[in-house]
């Protein structure tokens, strides 16, 4: 496995491989890799000749009040996990943006609400960094986790709208044995916080059970589920369409529950399909 820190050297190699007809797979990450990430690497590995993973904690997607400086890091452990999962090139740039960088890519509408509500500049930072990474890596296929479901939806929209010739694959959310969605930010939780964090997933499961029992009114569903949650502060608990992300009054096929809440220091997110 090659470790590459130079963006332009990476792009030169990518363009050379594409001109030879190779398929390039790409999994962008912010590092501190867990089984959620490595499941994405495996999905990408099966779909390409040359697999690139990137680790870059992107300042553009953090607000000044957020945890950019404290974001957990483990470059040696990450490199080892990438090696084990068949990565050919690990891209770890020190500087990703040009000093004169001024371009921003945004997706209107889909960025509103859910995480876009409490993190208003977040998604423009995500789509901008992903657009630049796609330019550098020239992927044929790129895999994003369904844990960041709104992010995945926005990236699909950007790729379609800008006619980027890239297949976007969504990787299923991976949970720990207690049900907590894997996240690099779980590292912040002590054991008491962790047992409360698990109530986020339990609440989503409760919603799904009630839907399976025939309750389809989303306001009633959400109201009845709130008592399950043992979090410090709820950001949102909503039922939306899984494709358009439009809020739903009545559960319909493809409906999905989305939750975000603070437990101790971290803000945690989760989502679950309620009706297939």
């Amino acid at each position: 496995m090659k470790i590459q820190i130079d963006p332009h050297a990476l792009q030169r190699e990518a363009l050379r491989r594409r001109a030879q007809g190779q398929r390039i797979g790409f999994v962008p990450t912010m590092g501190y890799l867990h089984r959620g990430h490595t499941s994405l690497l495996s999905l990408a590995r099966d779909r390409c000749d040359w697999l690139v993973a990137s680790i870059y904690v992107n300042p553009l997607q953090f607000a000044p009040t957020e945890d950019l400086a404290a974001y957990p890091r483990d470059p040696e452990g990450d490199a080892e996990k990438c090696r084990e999962h068949g990565v050919d090139c690990l891209f770890m740039p020190e500087a990703l943006y040009l000093p004169e960088h001024r371009t921003r890519v945004g997706v209107d509408g889909l960025s509103l609400g859910l995480c876009g509500g409490s993190r208003p500049t977040h998604f423009e930072g995500v789509t901008t960094v992903v657009a630049r990474l796609f330019g550098l890596v020239q992927p044929t296929v790129s895999v994003f986790g369904e844990k960041d479901y709104q992010q995945l939806t926005l990236i699909r929209r950007m790729v379609a709208d800008l006619a980027m010739p890239i297949e976007i694959v969504g990787g299923p959310l991976v949970r720990d044995t207690d049900g907590l969605a894997l996240s690099s930010r779980n590292a912040y939780l002590n054991s008491k916080e962790r047992s409360r964090a698990v109530t986020i997933y339990q609440t989503l499961c409760h919603l799904r059970t009630r839907v399976q029992a025939g309750v389809l009114d989303t306001e009633a569903l959400v109201q009845s589920a709130l008592s399950e949650l043992q979090v410090d502060q709820l950001d949102y608990l909503e039922i939306r369409d899984g494709l358009s992300l439009e809020p739903l009054r009545t559960v319909q096929p493809g409906a999905r529950a989305f939750a975000a809440a603070w437990v101790g220091r971290p803000r945690l997110i989760d989502n679950l399909e309620l009706l297939s």
Copy 2:
């Protein structure tokens, strides 16, 4: 020459040709082609294996008050000119954007002032359409006229920032024998308006002459030049750096004069390097 109206069929052919190692040249236009455009086609023709020109009057770059519906059109004449100048594929989509299009690409800073001052939504429309066209056409090289100098600067910035592997070539401004910069919008001018429109270029030449005589204070230069202009309404007459587009107090190498003014119906623009 093939005339292509289907964006996705165009992209399929472009990707096939790129995978065969071909160089694709691209000149995007809004049609009603004149010698300014055909000079760009010739510049691109020399740099590629497969030359694509596009004609699309992009609604995103017109404000509601502007001349979108009245923008001059001549598809048969345009196709003939493209054929004569070696275009292999003329892309004339009826619908360019997807119905659900929501993505916008913008360049901060460089869009402020000059044409971005009087047309605040214009450049986001330009960079968005060019990003989508680049995705569809997959060019190796793309040529833009220096008449739209701020647009060229923004596109260079976007391409660098998003690491698009595309060489951007600027084509020199082409003038009529009387000095008027060629523009599709010149078709709106009657003969009296035209003789007044020429004073825009004459004013830029006056500025250059004064600079050559040693006058370097930009405020004094602009003040002395205003009396030359016989336009209905001046939008701007400014001296800026040709690379950064920053306003200059003192003329330095690379300084450029920029003008925009209404004469009769159309708003006309022009620019000239003052010191090389």
